[in-house]
Amino acid sequence: MTSAGHQPGNQNARLAWLFALPALLGLLIFVLLPFVLSVILSFTNLRLGSPLPLEFMGFSQYQRIFTDQAFLAALRNNSLFALIVVPLQTGLALLLALLVNQPLRGMVLFRSLFFMPVVFPLSLVAVVWILVFAPGPQGLLNQVLETITLGTWQPRDFLHDPAWALPAISLTSIWQGVGFQMVILLAALQGIAHELYEAARVDGANRWQQFVCITLPQLRNAIIFVVLVTTILAFRLFDQVQIMTQGGPNNATTTVMYEAVNSAFGSQQVARAAAMTVVFFTIVLLITLLQRAVSRHERVIE
């Protein structure tokens, strides 16, 4: 104690570094370094096992991927997937949260039930839903649609139909992920002060008016957060595609990550794959900045 007594500040600082070091080293080596590498590699011609010397290529990898039909289809598919999934999943999550938040018996059970698919690995969900979408009258969905439409539904092969494959994957993803969103919105709902509703009731507001004037504005930041997370997840889409369609039919379900993985270890084109992941990261960054801007805007108004 006496020897350290001279410089307690120094010794504490060393100790603090010791606390933080393992995690910081991990982040440095396995997050920051690969991130910097992906930017650098995307400007080269790196290809594993290639005899060509490593060269600086400028933006040519980017030029190539942005003229590649499959990659453009992937960008389109990710956007379309986000356009389908984000509104549907957020809307459904909000509906579920509102229902489960009712002061009625058995709501905990329903909450658990809707949350349950979240603990299912996506790979398993994808495999199970292949059978839901099975072609012909044997498929569960085809059968249900046939029953509902009194036999007028023409059974189809959802996952091999360019028009239906992406919506089918969307449905699968919503089923697995909506419980997560529901729980976040439910927590936000329960955080709204009761006084607000009482005041509105005194003013004679009906339930719909209360929902529009109190619930929605109070949930605004939670909804923005849910929309952000779902949009980013939509651009990360990979597992379902890998298992259910392998990007097909005819690139109808390929995604940015699916293309990147195929380039990286299907054809060993590391540089090309790196360029794709940089594009992917830029999209994620833009979505995040947009969310920050929108949320801050709200705070200023308040």
């Binding site: 504490n12 600082a13 603090a16 606390f19 933080a20 393992p22 995690a23 910081l24 080596i29 396995f30 997050v31 920051l32 370094l33 991130f35 590498l37 992906s38 579920l96 229902l99 489960v100 009712q102 009625l104 809707f114 349950m116 698919p117 603990v119 299912f120 690995p121 996506l122 790979s123 398993l124 495999v127 199970v128 839903w129 292949i130 059978l131 839901v132 099975a134 009258p137 044997q138 569960l140 059968q143 976040i184 927590a187 939670a222 923005i224 957060f225 849910v226 990979f238 597992d239 890998q242 298992i243 990550m257 990147a260 990286a264 590391v270 794959a273 790196a274 794709m276 992941t277 992917f280």
Partner: protein, 278 residues
């Protein structure tokens, strides 16, 4: 309760039950299908009325063990998830404590970088990370699936916010008694931070248990492959036998469902916390 309220209540239950039914059908189909002979799974999948197997049989379950090293996949998944969760709890909570309570030069700048790293998803770095571990010669091992995922910026952030909210008095008292930072952390702070440990454990477990992309990239032998990759390869393994696949699925999800039922409150709280971040 008046008539209007009763109608409202009934319609809430009606909507909830309908939705619950839609949520359950795929799960029930999997569970019942796992007890059916393979040739009947497809024939009957379409008929809601004939979801029930004509006769229950454990044959599919035996078949899974005969065709793939299921026990091995299960062990691998459990081992990998356990190491990441346990290692992550220790390493990330220590770092968060250094950010929240200890004084050191550069702290605020480093914290800023850590928070910025939160928005980098694995997908954005998977390719160079793959290249990195290839250079290290780590491919096809347990380590390659564990070490890169122990340190986690989001976990640090969750711990950090929680530690900031703890009253300082507890630690002050211990410090006056002559306890150093290690003892204060393990004896005072950690025992008072159980909720955040549970949250981080559950969130990182859910991510790791379901991981497919990374194991797919870096492993090729059955000895180290986890369950999600197991079911993906099992599905593509001819002959396509749905009964077996469902039996695999049931066995794969049962342990997690048990954990979920036991620690349900923590799961829900853990997920709800992620929303606070925005």
């Amino acid at each position: 309760m008046n008539g209007k309220q009763r109608i409202r209540m009934l319609s809430v239950y009606l909507v909830l039950t309908t939705l619950a039914f839609m949520f359950l059908v795929p799960v029930v189909m999997m569970l019942l299908g796992s007890f059916k002979p393979d040739d009947q799974v497809l024939v009957q999948a379409g008929r809601l009325g004939s979801l029930l197997p004509a006769e229950f049989s454990w044959f599919n379950y035996q078949d899974v063990f005969a065709r793939v090293p299921f026990a091995r996949y299960l062990f691998n998944s459990a081992f990998i998830s356990f190491c990441i969760v346990a290692g992550g709890l220790l390493v990330n909570s220590l770092a968060a404590y250094a950010f929240a309570r200890l004084q050191w030069p550069g702290r605020d700048w480093v914290l800023l970088v850590v928070v910025a790293l939160m928005i980098i998803p694995l997908e954005a770095i998977a390719v160079p990370l793959f290249y990195e571990v290839t250079l290290l010669g780590w491919r096809d091992t347990y380590w390659v699936q564990i070490i890169p995922f122990i340190a986690n910026a989001f976990s640090i952030y969750l711990f950090y916010s929680f530690f900031l909210s703890l009253p300082r008095e507890l630690e002050e008292a211990a410090r006056i008694d002559g306890a150093g930072p290690w003892r204060i952390f393990f004896r005072i702070v950690a025992p008072n931070a159980k909720p955040v440990f549970a949250t981080v454990a559950i969130l990182s477990f859910l991510t790791q248990w379901g991981a497919l992309l990374w194991p797919l990239m870096v492993t090729h032998s059955e000895a180290v492959r986890p369950l999600p990759l197991g079911i993906a390869t099992f599905y593509s393994l001819p002959p396509l036998q749905w009964g077996d696949i469902f039996a695999f699925g049931v066995m794969m999800v049962t342990p997690v469902l048990l954990i979920f039922v036991l620690f349900q409150r923590w799961f829900v709280q853990g997920v709800a916390t992620t929303g606070v971040k925005g």
